[in-house]
């Protein structure tokens, strides 16, 4: 596997090969796609508004852009008419250079979706556009038309994205004012950061999903009834979190940190799953249409997963373990992980991981073993998994180890994710 920063050089070497007709340029196209995704996995981490729901949305639209750019040159089935509100893409000329179309479409998509990134991210996008464009352009067929069509694909999808309710994220996703719920067990802030005294993105569940019919398409039963009574189901869940935290093994601590996937310090949970897919694509030298198919389905599922999950979070508006445990069990208790600043039920990482694992299982099969090196550069070890569902189970359980979720949020989150995934899996693509 190439190192992240070594990728451009590697891609450049591949792209310097003699130009071939578009359909024969598969390897180059895959490198264009993967190259831009490698950059995006950094930009997600370094763009302040990119909390997990926002990151997932970008992976959703970027996946669609990549797929439609490829579909235009290969006559593959468009997602227009399959995704909510996506109208037919503009037709392109009969002869196009696939790598250049893809490059132009991704350039437009990334620049729009990550336009708010900092000066270093802007510089990195400039460098990627320049270098990848130069290489992809060598001997390209119909370069001007190809670039124009790629841009048109991106523009069409970005215009569609503007109307989904998630295009504008102010104050890093935190409302300037917020009224706390008054019911017993309602969420209360857990952070000492002033901005986080209001919860993250309370309206996100109302966004237009991509493949799922609406935000309530994968509903959940309520969590155990809130109770402060010892022996109640709710109290028992809190005791489980508390006792687990007091007896964590080194392996459990590692698992908690491995899947922590904190915004602005990692590619976020959806980026973690995208990293898994991109690494597999590189390792197995997957053909570009399979990479694009996977990235689109995974992105769609991730984006919808956060809409479904956020809809449920604000429907049930449940407090976090740290609030309950300090109030009723041990006022000095500290969870291993930093508690995220929004309601507890269900677990976002569980919903997301459940959805991601089902999508990847549908693509690669139920026994596809892989290694996860997402956090290698951050000093965390590579972890091996026998299949995607095992990884999702571990990701979900990591929230219990981290002390930030009760059991029900984890189990129901995985179930919700599986429901969300059916819509992405059902898309007619390859």
């Amino acid at each position: 596997m190439l190192g992240r920063r070594g990728f451009i050089a590697g891609a450049a070497a591949g792209l310097l090969a003699p130009a071939l007709p578009a359909r024969a340029a598969t390897a180059d196209s895959a490198q264009v796609l993967i190259g831009w995704y490698r950059l995006v996995l950094e930009l997600v981490r370094h763009t302040a508004t990119y909390s997990p729901p926002v990151a997932a949305r970008s992976f959703g639209y970027l996946g669609v852009i990549g797929w439609e750019a490829l579909a235009a040159t290969r006559g593959l089935t468009s997602l227009a008419g399959q995704l909510n509100g996506l109208t037919p893409l503009p037709p392109g000329p009969p002869v196009l250079d696939e790598a250049l179309v893809l490059h132009a479409a991704l350039t437009g998509g990334v620049r729009a979706l990550f336009g708010n990134t900092g000066p270093t991210g802007q510089r990195a996008m400039d460098a990627m556009e320049r270098r990848m464009g130069e290489r992809a352009g060598v001997g390209a067929v119909q370069p001007a038309a190809s670039l124009a069509h790629g841009r048109a694909v991106a523009d069409h999808i970005l215009a569609w994205a503007e109307g989904d309710g998630g295009a504008v994220v102010a104050n890093m996703g935190f409302p300037l004012t917020w009224s706390l719920g008054t019911q017993a067990g309602a969420w209360v802030p857990t952070s000492l950061i002033r901005q986080q005294q209001a919860p993250l993105l309370p309206e996100w569940g109302k966004n237009r999903p991509l493949a799922m019919p609406n935000g309530r398409a994968c509903p959940l039963p309520p969590p155990p009834a809130y109770s402060e009574e010892p022996g109640s189901a709710f109290h028992a869940e809190a005791i489980e979190v508390y006792e687990t935290s007091r007896s964590l093994t080194d392996e459990q601590k590692l698992i908690a940190r491995f899947w922590s996937d904190d915004p602005m310090l990692s590619p976020t949970p959806p980026g973690h799953w995208v990293t898994i897919l991109v690494d597999i694509a590189e390792r197995d030298a997957l053909p570009v249409e399979r990479v694009a198919d996977g990235l689109a389905r995974l992105g769609v599922a991730a984006s919808d997963a956060f809409i479904a999950c956020w809809q449920s979070k604000y429907e049930f508006d449940l407090l976090r373990p740290v609030t309950y445990i300090r109030a009723h069990i041990d006022k000095t208790w500290e969870p291993l992980l930093i508690t995220p600043p929004f309601p507890e039920y269900p677990s976002g990482h569980s919903t997301l991981s459940g959805a991601s694992a089902e999508v990847l299982t549908a693509i690669f099969g139920p026994d596809f073993a892989f290694e996860d090196s997402t956090h290698e550069a951050d000093g965390l070890p590579v972890r091996s998994f026998p299949n995607f569902r095992a990884a999702a189970q571990e990701a979900a359980l990591s929230r219990l180890y981290g002390g930030i979720h009760f059991r029900a949020a984890i189990d129901r989150g995985l179930e919700q994710g599986a429901c969300v995934a059916t819509h992405a899996i059902g898309l007619r693509m390859l």
Binding site: R5, L39, T49, P119, R123, A127, I193
Partner: protein
């Protein structure tokens, strides 16, 4: 329990009194200079103040980025600030910051120039003239994007120990994240520095500080790191033991992981427990750290009390831009001389980051009697919306009131004269013979009745610049004060009764 009692006593009689808001008068055009540049100068912009003319007024050095740095001779008077740019030998380009210190203990202040490229040590020749002394002092510079500096004198050393913090590998334009370059750690003796040690792991510090955080008498090296660029990084605290390479404090020793966009450090004992609190600047949030269990066996575990104390300064408080703030230089100084240190943040967008405030006013947070702070930047007149970076809070005209210089990125430097009202004050200038003439990492204590203010003598921290000169203490209405110095080797001078409204030199 002891801490709570202390706060209660401090809060007692003056609880209902709002702090006096000083008037800061803008001295427009007094420092005609800008810190300019693009990517490589999105950080930096340090200000250094020190008296090199011997008249008791601090000169002002401003870094220039792509423009030459500049030294301004201070010709201020009580009723107005005035400066004159002079040829000093400090007019280097690509300077990101500077810190004054007396490297060779000759009584003439020298300067560490932080650069994008090779940093320099500049020897003071007197009369505000400087020459590069890197070679003469055996200082092996290195090519880097240098962003942070600190100095100390280790126990028994006759030559300073220096630390340089560096930022990103600037050759990595496409994937710069995770490319933090190692800083350098210099020791020396007999007038020369040895070959440096690399400070690894490196996490892109924007402020570093030798500080005796646990009052052990052996300063450690605190680093505030920019999480934008490190991978696997966090804030750092290094053991600095004589003769040993710096060694990181570990979780087993109590160090708690904190990951912020670290940009500046300031320290002051705010609660009177004898241990310093630390203010750390960042984006959308700022930290005020208080040691959880102060005492001889203290572990480096801090509670973040910024929210409780009212100093998160997380978004603009005036001007209508409600996006999150970006804070750089930070300093504690008592701007109204009410015997309670106040807190200043220089603010400014990194560089056209639309998720963060473009009109981001500086903060002047005045400490109330109960130990909390209230915003007064707009009322005091320092709520500039320019792209602040470095700053200096020092008495520029010897009137006993703390004035303010802010260096803005791609904008004019700003200077404000503090026109009061202000209470009584005292300045303490500790001086000892031999190495470490300015008693760096010693402590100055000022006592009025039972109330002791204390501050550590520091070279480092802030954002890319620092001040060297008498330490300022507000006295409120007190007509006299006692002062003493705890010298870097731990010996204590006797308490001396001193007259207010004067600078006193305490000689060892």
């Amino acid at each position: 329990m002891i801490r709570a009692l202390t706060l209660l006593l401090l809060a007692g009689p003056a609880l209902a009194e709002a702090p006096v808001v000083p008037r800061f008068v803008a001295e427009e055009g007094a420092l005609p200079h800008s810190f300019t540049g693009e990517w490589e100068f999105m950080v930096g912009g340090g200000v250094a103040t020190f008296d090199c003319s011997g008249d008791g007024l601090p000169e002002v050095f401003l870094s220039g980025g792509t423009a030459p740095a500049a030294l301004f001779l201070n010709e201020s008077r009580a009723d107005g600030l005035a400066f004159r740019q002079i040829d000093s030998g400090l007019e280097a380009e690509m300077v990101s910051g500077a810190y004054p210190l007396d490297v060779d203990a000759d009584g003439i202040i020298d300067l560490a120039l932080l650069r994008v490229g090779e940093s320099h040590l500049m020897r003071g020749l007197g009369n505000c003239k400087f020459e590069e002394a890197s070679a003469a002092w055996g200082f092996q510079s290195f090519d880097a994007w240098t962003t942070a500096f600190a100095a100390t004198w280790e126990a028994g050393a006759d030559w300073p120990t220096l630390a340089f913090g560096t930022y990103i590998d600037r050759q990595e334009d496409a994937f710069p994240w995770g490319s933090c370059t190692p800083g350098r750690f210099y020791r020396g003796s007999a007038g020369r520095f040895d070959a440096p040690l690399e400070l690894t792991p490196a996490h892109c510090p924007l402020s570093i500080l030798f500080t005796d955080w646990n009052r052990s008498g052996q300063p450690a090296l605190r680093m505030s790191n920019d999480r934008e660029y490190y991978k696997g990084g966090q804030e750092q605290l290094w053991h600095v033991e004589p003769g040993q390479p710096p060694r990181l404090y570990t979780e087993a020793e109590g160090w708690q992981r904190l990951r912020i966009w670290g940009m500046g450090i300031a320290s002051r004992d705010l609660d009177g427990d004898g241990f310093p609190e630390y203010a750390l600047t960042s984006m959308a949030d700022n930290k005020l750290q208080r040691l959880k269990a102060p005492g001889p066996e203290a572990q480096p575990q801090y509670a973040d009390v910024a929210f409780a104390m009212g100093v998160t300064a997380h978004r603009p408080y005036t001007g209508g831009d409600l996006r999150p703030s970006t804070a750089w230089h930070v300093a504690f100084e008592d701007v109204n001389n009410d015997a309670r240190p106040d807190l200043f943040f220089a603010k400014g967008n990194v560089w056209s980051m639309p998720d963060f405030a473009e009109k981001d006013p500086n903060n002047l947070l005045l400490q109330r009697a109960d130990g909390t702070f209230e915003e007064a930047g707009d009322r005091a007149g320092v709520a500039s919306m320019l792209q602040g970076r470095g700053a200096a809070l020092t008495d520029l005209n010897a009137d006993g009131r703390i004035d303010l210089v802010v260096l803005n990125r791609n904008g004019p430097a700003e200077v404000w004269r503090n026109d009061g009202p202000a209470g009584n004050w005292i300045g303490i200038d500790p001086v000892q013979a031999g190495p470490n003439r300015n008693a760096v990492n010693g402590w100055v204590e000022v006592r009025v009745g039972n109330h002791i203010q204390r501050r550590e003598v520091l070279v480092g921290g802030g954002h890319a610049g620092g001040s060297l000169g008498p330490l300022h203490f507000g006295l409120g209405n007190a007509e006299s004060a006692e002062a003493r110095v705890i010298w870097p080797d731990g010996s204590e001078s006797a308490w001396q009764v001193l007259s207010p409204n004067l600078v006193h030199q305490i000689m060892r």
